[in-house]
Symmetry: C2
Subunit: 156 residues, 2 copies
């Protein structure tokens, strides 16, 4: 990987919520789904608290050398009976701030998650990515993922 | 739906583990992944205990009129910041015993999960299904799911 900018990956704090929501919204799909207001709708903070107290979920941010939050990722470790009772890991909400893309930040986040999944003895890491995110699919293939499933969703 | 056999959907118990693992293994993908031995490898029971004590996960079975376990499904409710802090639901490990297929049992299980997701204020239900499970994909489309994502996996 060329031009990789090293970042610190750390657990998200309540005062990161605005930066995370801004990244979630800065996207052709996220734009319609999020509400960027000042102050942010309280539901974002309630969700942060639910995530923060869940021992199976890690919401992390990538912080650059200047202390700016430039990426995020949520990793869930899910116990289950299949594959001989191995837990599996689910990666969600991977985002990199638009002015910091193509600098290897997403790769550092996903490699962090893969390492975390291995450390928790998972045998499988899974994620779904919208059909329209062709660049993301190429990115995950480069990191070793196989595009061997359909991701199906029902939105209320 | 024709020929629907009503089943009772209830929380899985430790003494259902063998029946659940048998269904997970009775499948072209599961066959290579599971270990059917008597007694079952203890990892299955450890995994059951982890699932059973996790407040965000419900592992359920479908029981027919004769008290036989003929289906299973795992529903995870995952908090997260995206979609205005709405939790999302993940459906996993849906199986129906091979001698009981095409009797509406899978549909009853998935409708139970959708109802459960709504009750927990989720805005999204998601699942991944292997590319080779074409019948499953048709089944989920019939229940309202959109095939709008790629499911990507990394197996260790």
């Amino acid at each position: 990987m060329t031009n990789s900018v090293p970042v610190t990956i750390r657990r998200a704090r309540r005062d990161d919520v605005a930066a995370i929501v801004a990244m979630l919204a800065d996207d052709h799909l996220g734009r319609a789904r999020e509400r960027i207001e000042d102050p942010l709708p309280p539901a974002y903070f309630s969700a942060f608290e639910a995530v923060d107290r869940d021992p199976n979920i890690q919401l992390v941010v990538a912080e650059n050398g200047g202390g700016e939050v430039v990426g995020c990722l949520q990793l869930c470790i899910l116990p289950g009976l299949s594959s001989q009772g191995a837990s599996r890991a689910l990666i969600e909400d991977v985002r990199v701030a638009s002015h910091c893309r193509s600098q290897g930040i997403g790769e550092q986040l996903v490699r962090w998650a893969i390492k975390g999944a291995r450390a928790k003895s998972c045998k499988l890491v899974e994620l779904i990515t919208h059909n329209s995110r062709v660049d993301a699919q190429r990115f995950y293939v480069k990191l070793g993922f196989q595009q061997n499933h359909k991701g199906m969703t029902l939105r209320f």
